[in-house]
Symmetry: C2
Subunit: 199 residues, 2 copies
């Protein structure tokens, strides 16, 4: 991969690790933005928040850099689940998710900081996740561990929770926090457009 400054507008170590997996070393520069939104639609919500994060970080980024903002939520029964505020809330979330299929949405905004203006792209990716039925004992043991606390929907598919996942439909990284396949493809497209403009 070419040397190019990537700025990750997110404090999530998992997103940084996913970028690293495809050879991208990003500079982490989380943007402090409000996470309030008007919309209750998960796709609109993650698009709005990813773009808010990317724009805040882009305002401070050097020309030529690529800024990436992302936001992930879990959607079930028309409800959006963010990070649990307590272990009790984590239990409630996992009770709701076990034994069925829910949706994970990650919104991504990539902004190329130009000398004068910016260019970029926003997209939302959806992955269906199906869980095996869990016993109350399994729910409590997991919910009371530290794992769920910083994760949308109160679980991390990359950790011990994998024991309860029967399958997914869509991108795996998207459930962890960043759809890296799509990110790479959009970055490639962006580079091609920039190469054409330079001609």
């Amino acid at each position: 991969m070419e040397r190019e400054l990537w700025i990750l507008a997110s404090a999530s170590p998992r997103r940084r690790e996913l970028l690293r997996q495809i050879g991208i070393e990003a500079k982490v520069q989380p943007a402090a933005v409000s996470e309030d939104t008007e919309t209750k639609n998960p796709e609109e919500m993650v698009l709005e928040l990813s773009s808010r994060k990317a724009e805040a970080a882009a305002a401070l980024a050097p020309a030529g850099s690529l800024v990436l903002g992302a936001d992930t939520v879990v959607s079930v029964d028309g409800m959006v689940l963010g990070k649990p505020a307590s272990h009790e809330q984590a239990r409630e979330m996992i009770r709701r998710l076990q034994g069925r299929t829910h949706q994970v949405y990650t919104g991504v905004t990539m902004i190329r900081r130009g000398e004068t203006g910016n260019s970029g792209v926003s997209f939302a990716e959806k992955t269906d996740v199906t869980l095996f039925p869990m016993t109350e004992e399994e729910i409590q043991a997991y919910a009371d561990s530290p794992e769920p606390m910083d994760k949308a929907g109160a679980y991390g598919i990359q950790g011990s929770f994998a024991a309860y996942v029967s399958g997914i439909r869509g991108d795996y990284g998207n459930v962890v926090g960043l759809p890296i396949g799509r990110v790479y493809q959009e970055w490639k497209r962006l580079k091609e457009e920039e190469a054409e403009e330079d001609d």
Copy 2:
């Protein structure tokens, strides 16, 4: 997870890592078995090979231990792809897989070594994997790297190849080499059966 001796009849560091992810520390004891099979059917093939590996290791395992054998292949166009024998073969495999959907099969055999006889279970899990189209440059760069050489189908979804994966349908660990969700569920069932027998 309870303390119990798990024996992994496979040298794959990835399978060991997947078990560790759900809290299982396995003793690695690869079984030297022939990988020749009569069948060309991917599901039958991985079942047969996983059972051959597990049985060979179980013969040497102490009573009470749980022995796990596994085998993974990629299936496309009615052909079964194992590990590539050369970088040239890796290129051919990736050329065939890019831009479309193929199947990954992992067969798993779990044997509980008893005082007198053994008990256990065998199953095969299928995951569909869809790849983005790849340029010839991308194919060559990946195929010529060390990554494809020890992997069925010549790619590792957990490495930089994730940039080319648009999505999967099924278990993610299954593509890496072990369907850990299913392994955990089958282990749970086995323990329940054993508890009933003890009553």
